[in-house]
């Protein structure tokens, strides 16, 4: 039985291969995602185990509140003697581990100022470098390859960074930390990170502990204390002892873990963070598989129709319906298994590609030696095979409906199923259900984002299936509409293409639907990104009055150094330079929220906020414990003028602020604002998110910007000064690079639908061999035949594109209405959507390349002699 099917597949090689590609691509994305994230997880595991290999216990700060946009607090140096005094502790020392940037200069420092050109070196793909300072070499995971351990203004760098950046021992480099201006260091050593070699391509900068503390602004503080226990004292025991010896005041802000626990918890943290990436990438793989399902369905439907006579013959020879059904299903199963196996293997390549992709978009993920878990293989194989078989079921069922009489006559159409009458109603119902679920997912109050997205996802899947089922009815009018200009513009090719596209509406509809799905999502993200940009840009124009914004373009989250506002405000021509400090707090009865620190005295000059309660005049009088809150936030948490806000800060301080004013929500600042001085006092936050600069009256802003930029370049090369316009484009470019990534990932689904079009065209051309032969005989040139095929492809693509873009607009409108309370503004980037339509036309022409060639190359005599 299977041998017969294999032979059948072999005789239809091209279609089998094209069908398989549709599944291979989606499956490879699934398998590639797993391989990539497992590999990254594995590498981090290795790194963390390496880092705690020699260590029995680790003491780290435990922030009372945390968020990924703020740094963690530090340990007081006074804790170290306490730990050393714990019985069973053989050695303990503090260490610093922080972010920094490394620069190599072609120039010289003159009078404390750098003259020349600085080049950022070290980490690849824009990742920050890591700065280490360890109290004693016993705890250092870096091993010396050459040179000697650094003292004072000396650094050791890892050998891969040195060779990658062409640095050599004795050379001067500049280090920019998040705390201090640029400082010169001499490279005195070359290192290696344990047996792993490096940490995901990050540059590893090693200094002596005191220097590291000074450079990172952590004098008298540690990021971590590592402990080695005396022989015979177990990791668990020593950790327990240290815990019990901690001063009562530190118990809630300090965490003691065994070396093993520390490695595991860090790995778990990474795995948790990566989970988001895994799910996101799997979603794109899922979309591609979903699109592939349409192509499988279509190919099998066409094939079954073309083989109607064969089935009829088998039926007259005594085959039962069950046998016919089985033969088609087995064919689907074989294709599914083969494609899934190939797809799983191709995942290895996809994992590499994805990794490269993330590097291009600025995210650097460590990985070494691809990790393929059995879960990866089983999920990929199952998904690919199941989807193929399920997509083949309907066509298989239709094959059983071929009457034996069809063997006797030519061109007996497949009889319609008994239920086909109901199809439009079922399609309508599915569409409606999909729409309802999508709306439910957007508007219903669901607390978990995960289930919200899942409901929207299922809704969209149903919506797509429903519209695809309805679309055969739309093919005829749409094809006539799109074909009309072609028909007018061409002698005959446009007309024939239009007729061909309309000849089998369901075939064209399903082919177009595959593209529709990809384009609906592309259109949606295009619109949504335009809305995000518009919202953010409008907020800047509306709410910011300052001339410039100084920010760190290379890392986010409070990465403007503490001294910057002071340096800039002292400059000639600068009226005000005021930082925004950002931190997080848990407000009793309200929840965890981001808090922004402002300078009350100058707030009204730098920002143009609108007030619901109070006015800009209340801001200067905030005192040390006044707070301002956004109206939407105040509304949903029942806050009003005079409400107390009891805040718990990351360092464990509790302080109460009082609402003094309610402003209209702004995309620029967070929901709760307190004075900067209070933020420094209660949160110990010295860095800032950005610094807003107001030029003095009558100053040439262009020249001022230039001067500020020069000062920053010399001392704080990670910072840049932006006009409002530049700030906007800076924000836009962040959205754009994410958008680019999403486009690339959606591109996979579009490529899958490309194969769908190719496959349908090839099968249709095969059916029309005689017609093409006749056309060629009576004087149709090869070029004309090619254009006939191309135009058909273009019409199909346009149907998919237009339906897709309309669906995309619908989804975008729904989401925008759903997010209106968050301040999202509606935008319709007509120009970009038109670009997608134009690209769809080009897509159609590209998809037609191979089928058109085949059609044009058709041997006229053979085509006419056919059958």
């Amino acid at each position: 039985m299977i041998a017969v099917e294999l032979k059948g597949l072999a005789s239809r090689k091209l279609r089998t291969v094209l069908t398989m590609i549709a599944i291979i691509l989606g499956v490879s994305m699934i398998s590639g995602t797993y391989i990539l994230t497992d590999t990254i997880n594995g590498s981090f595991d290795q790194i963390f185990h390496q880092a705690t290999r020699k260590i029995d216990a680790v003491i780290t700060p435990k922030p009372a509140v945390s968020a990924d946009f703020v740094g963690t607090p530090t340990l007081p140096a006074g804790l170290l003697p306490v730990v050393r005094g714990v019985p069973g502790v053989a050695a303990a020392d503090g260490e610093i581990a922080d972010q920094a940037s490394l620069f190599a200069g072609h120039g010289r420092m003159i009078n404390g100022r750098f003259h020349g050109h600085l080049r950022r070196v070290g980490a690849t793909g824009g990742a920050p470098s890591l700065l280490f300072g360890v109290g004693s070499e016993r705890f250092n995971e870096l091993t010396l390859v050459a040179g000697h351990w650094p003292v004072g203004n000396q650094v050791a760098l890892d050998e891969s960074t040195m060779s990658r950046s062409h640095l050599h021992l004795g050379q001067m480099v500049e280090v920019a930390s998040l705390a201090r201006p640029l400082e010169p260091f001499r490279i005195v050593a070359k290192t290696r990170f344990g047996s792993v070699g490096s940490i995901g391509g990050a540059a590893l900068i090693d200094m002596d502990l005191a220097t590291a503390q000074r450079v990172t602004g952590k004098i008298g503080e540690y990021d971590q204390i590592s402990v080695i226990s005396a022989p015979g004292t177990s990791q668990k025991l020593i950790a327990r002892r240290i815990r019990s010896h901690l001063p009562a005041a530190d118990r809630s802000t300090v965490r003691v873990r065994t070396g093993e626990q520390q490695a595991k918890s860090q790995a778990a943290q990474v795995a948790n963070a990566l989970n988001f990436l895994t799910i996101g990438l799997l979603a794109f793989g899922g979309i591609a598989v979903f699109v592939g399902a349409f192509i499988i369905f279509n190919t099998f439907s066409i094939t079954v129709a073309q083989r109607a006579r064969e089935f009829a013959l088998l039926r007259t020879l005594g085959s039962t319906r069950g046998q016919i059904m089985r033969s088609v299903v087995i064919e689907a199963l074989l294709i599914g298994i083969a494609a899934s196996v190939l797809g799983t293997l191709a995942g290895l390549g996809i994992a590499k590609l994805l990794n490269g992709l993330f590097q291009t978009f600025g995210a650097n993920l460590p990985n070494s030696g691809l990790v393929v878990l059995s879960r990866t293989v089983s999920v990929s194989l199952m998904v690919g095979t199941a989807v193929t078989v399920i997509s083949g079921l309907m066509p298989a069922f239709r094959a059983t409906r071929v009457p034996p009489i069809a063997a006797m006559r030519e061109g007996v159409p497949l009889p319609k199923g008994r239920l086909s009458r109901l199809t439009p109603y079922v399609a309508g119902l599915i569409t409606l259900l999909g729409l309802l679920l999508t709306i439910l997912g957007i508007f219903a109050s669901i607390s978990s984002t995960g289930s919200r997205l899942a409901i929207i996802g299922v809704g969209c899947v149903l919506l797509f299936i429903g519209v695809a089922m309805l679309s055969p009815k739309l093919v005829t009018p749409l094809a006539s509409a799109f074909g009309w200009p072609l028909q007018r513009a061409t002698a005959i090719t446009g007309r024939l293409a239009r007729d061909n596209a309309m000849r089998s509406p369901s075939r064209t509809a399903v082919t177009a639907a595959a593209l529709m799905i990809g384009l609906a999502l592309v259109a949606f993200v295009t619109i949504f990104a335009a809305e995000l940009k518009k919202t953010a840009d409008d907020a800047v124009s509306r709410d910011v009055a300052g001339t410039f914004i100084v920010q760190n373009n290379q890392s986010f989250g409070n990465s403007v150094q503490p001294g910057v506002a002071a340096v800039v405000s002292r400059m000639r021509g600068v009226a005000i330079a005021s930082p925004i400090r950002r931190d997080v707090a848990k407000i009793r009865g309200v929840g965890t929220t981001a808090i922004d620190g402002i300078d009350p005295g100058v707030f009204a000059t730098l920002y143009r906020f609108q007030w619901k309660v109070g006015s800009s005049r209340v801001v200067p009088g905030l005192g040390s414990n006044g707070a301002l809150v956004a109206d939407a936030y105040a509304g949903s948490h029942h806050l009003h003028d005079g409400s107390p806000l009891s805040m718990l800060t990351p360092i464990g301080t509790r302080d109460t602020f009082t609402v003094r004013g309610i402003f209209k929500s702004s995309q620029i600042l967070d929901n709760v604002l307190i004075p900067n001085a209070s933020l420094v006092r209660d949160f110990h936050e010295a860095n800032s998110e950005w610094v807003v600069v107001q030029a003095a009256a009558g100053v040439n802003t262009g020249r001022l910007e230039h001067r500020i930029a020069r000062v920053l370049a010399a001392s704080y090369p990670t910072l840049s000064v932006n006009s409002q316009q530049q700030f906007k484009s800076q924000q836009d470019s962040q959205v754009n690079s994410l958008l680019g990534l999403v486009y690339v990932l959606l591109g996979l689904s579009i490529v899958v639908s490309l194969f769908g079009i190719i496959n349908t065209l090839v099968l249709s051309i095969y059916e029309r061999t005689r017609e093409i032969g006749m056309l060629r005989a009576i004087g149709t040139t090869r070029t004309q035949v090619r254009w006939m095929v191309r135009w058909e492809s273009v019409i199909t693509s346009l149907i998919g594109a237009v339906l897709g873009i309309l669906l995309g607009i619908l989804l975008a409108v729904l989401i925008t209405v759903g997010l209106a309370s968050q301040g999202i503004e509606f935008a319709l980037p007509i120009g970009q959507l038109i670009v997608w339509v134009v690209l769809a036309v080009i897509f159609g022409i590209v998809a037609a390349a191979f089928p058109a060639r085949r059609a044009a190359r058709l041997d006229v005599l053979r085509a006419l002699a056919y059958e």
Partner: protein, 253 residues
């Protein structure tokens, strides 16, 4: 010059419309090679109705394909309307067929998506040329398709479909029309009609028509009958009666 010649603008005494000299056609290679045509010389003058006959496998279709520029001879030259077509590239050949050659096929080969009218004017549209409405009308009238013009092929009988195909072949006023077993798929009544129409095209429209046929009745309507056997022309004679033709066919078998 006769009046007919004056009207069609073609001269009988000068060059023939289609001529082949020394054409051979070999299919396959080495030991499996088949010589479908062996050194055939033949010429057709304008305005004639020629029937090509012969046993199955004698090379009739091959000859027709080569004369029509659909296939290339292994050796020899073919001229259509004075032009040597055997050295032409595909594009040139296609354009030549478009202008100078008409076809009528056994299986009609109409486009199912087009109406009868659209099928008839298809060659003109492929060439991007205008159809003379008077000429169109004349052909439609002659083919008896006046009230079938808006029908699609699936709504027409075999005979009607073949009449549409003949109209399609006539519409560009080609130098020559080739028909490979045009009645092969029709019953005798429809065959008779189709032959009458082809005859009509020769007589009234001064068309040159070359028909490959197995049907002695069909061949009897021609002005000239060419017999092929085993890739060679074995007899080339003027019109003859059905009985005579049948006898000759028997001889060849």
């Amino acid at each position: 010059m006769t009046t007919a010649e004056a009207i069609s603008g073609k001269s009988v005494d000068t060059e023939p419309v289609v001529s082949a000299t020394g054409i051979s056609r070999r299919f396959g290679e080495a030991d499996t090679a088949v010589d479908a045509l062996k050194d055939v010389d033949i010429a057709f003058r304008s305005g004639g109705f020629t029937a090509v006959m012969g046993p199955s496998g004698s090379g009739k279709s091959t000859l027709m394909h080569i004369l029509a520029g659909l296939d290339r001879p292994t050796a020899g030259t073919v001229r259509i309307d004075g032009q040597v077509i055997t050295s032409m590239g595909d594009r040139q050949l296609t354009l030549l067929r478009r202008k100078k050659v008409g076809f009528v096929f056994q299986f009609f080969n109409l486009l199912p998506t087009l109406t009868a009218e659209e099928n008839i004017v298809l060659p003109a549209r492929i060439g991007g040329t205008k159809v003379d409405p008077a000429f169109f009308s004349e052909i439609v009238e002659a083919m008896g398709l006046r009230n079938r013009l808006t029908h699609r092929p699936s709504q027409l009988s075999g005979g009607q479909q073949q009449r549409v195909a003949i109209a399609r072949a006539l519409i560009t006023r080609p130098a020559v029309i080739f028909a490979d077993e045009p009645t092969g798929n029709l019953d005798s009544t429809a065959s008779g009609e189709v032959l009458t129409l082809l005859r009509h095209a020769v007589d009234d429209f001064k068309q040159t028509i070359i028909v490959v046929t197995h049907d002695a009745v069909a061949a009897a309507r021609a002005d000239r009958i060419v017999f092929l056997a085993d890739g060679r022309i074995v007899k080339d004679q003027p019109a003859s009666s059905v009985g005579e033709i049948l006898d000759q066919m028997k001889e060849l078998r």
